[in-house]
Symmetry: C2
Subunit: 255 residues, 2 copies
């Protein structure tokens, strides 16, 4: 399989390095940034380019791992070819690639990726979609090299999963950030929270989040809530968040 990776960010880096590890090389890397293209190509031991017009035309798979807004711009500049064009975005429908290639699809791994941290791919759910059934088999073979959890899913369902992931990952991580700031103000190190963060995540493996919930909001303990809001006087934006989240927890607990 000849794969071109279009993009050099967190997902592009994790995906291509994982494929290389299981013996699937990458034929070429494209990035609009020469620095990023070079950095990834070096790790993958493959050629790189910053010019979409010079992307090779004889690859089997063109994997787009770009910002949603950059995808169309780059695809427009590429030379037409007979390969399978696949994007990796949770929020974009498959057919954004239709104007560029009759053979198109999606490979969406449900995970948060950072360049300096290689993901544990075998348990990551990978959601696939293809315009042609035969391409589904091809993409599934490639995905199964990385993960044991590969599923086919429509664009419609995928966008809901992506939204859920924003809550379960990006927003959760931001609450870690807020908690960390509040600790710093009290001269307590962030690490103090790690056992609590780990247990909060571990609990929902066994209990539903509703069963796992504890704390002042569930019983709407006005005395504690009022004290907490006062402590947040310097952070009006977190006061609003605190109120909204507490009200929602209380309301959902009693539905």
């Amino acid at each position: 399989m000849k794969i071109v990776c279009i993009g050099s960010g967190n997902l592009a880096t994790n995906l291509t390095r994982a494929w290389k590890t299981v013996g699937q090389p990458i034929a070429q890397v494209f990035s609009r940034s020469a620095e990023h293209a070079q950095l990834l190509a070096k790790q993958l031991d493959c050629p790189w380019t910053t010019s979409a017009e010079t992307i090779i035309t004889d690859a089997d798979l063109y994997l787009f791992a770009l910002k949603d807004s950059a995808l169309q711009e780059v695809a427009t500049r590429m030379r037409p070819n007979k390969g399978l064009w696949v994007h990796t975005a949770g929020s974009l429908p498959m057919n954004v690639l239709q104007p560029f290639s009759d053979r198109h699809g999606v490979l969406y791994p449900l995970q948060t990726f950072s360049k300096n941290r290689l993901a544990a791919w075998r348990t990551i759910p990978i959601f696939l979609e293809t315009s042609h059934k035969e391409d589904g088999a091809l993409l599934e073979t490639l995905a199964r090299q990385l993960s044991d959890d590969v599923r086919f899913l429509s664009s419609e369902q995928r966008k809901h999963i992506h939204l859920a992931a924003v809550f379960a990952c990006n927003f959760v991580n931001h609450l870690y950030a807020i908690a960390g700031n509040l600790l710093t103000e009290a001269h307590v190190p962030f690490e103090t929270l790690l056992p609590l963060i780990d247990e909060t995540a571990a609990k929902v493996h066994r209990l539903t989040p509703k069963e796992a919930q504890t704390g002042p909001a569930i019983r709407y303990d006005e005395n504690i809530i009022h004290k907490h809001l006062t402590l947040l006087n310097e952070h009006p934006e977190w006061q609003t968040l605190y109120e909204r989240l507490s009200q929602d927890i209380h309301q959902k607990a009693h539905q």
Copy 2:
């Protein structure tokens, strides 16, 4: 050491069962609910009572693990004694127990507890405070039977930690609940999110939350954000949360 446990909830159950496991028995359990008192006393193999007036007076430690609002009411009805009176609340100052016992203190474990799930105590930070230094040594000995992370901390700092814990645990868990609801609506099982939830928690062991952040909010991708808000049309309360959190992520990323 003769310990009376006043309360029979999540924390009372976890704490007393952990002490029993390491060979520290419990002398008596009090709860306002006979059913709950009996259930915990059976697990601890000790007597129980629902009448605060009959709590024994010759114990070394009276451990209050009650709702904040119930603490004063129960303490008022207890017979005076020479024991050390200790509460377990993150949000209450130590001196709420001063009117009842000259020897008083706090033992606050930073964790989320559920009755049907025994906590892994050895890594849980336990924060102590006592009115008398000698009682600090006594309480520390008891706490170290359970955890390797025992620290002394003022009431002032403890209330900030408690607030941070509400963000890092209760609010995080509620975001898991929202994500789960969104998946259910798309006919995707909650378990699909577990690798993402685990990795989001694991990342902040190595990176700061700010370094670990990914997703549309950090770059304020208006196209995706607008689509997500539209998907949330049926859930105006989550739309507001989504907007607030996204704005705050974006703003903090560029500070």
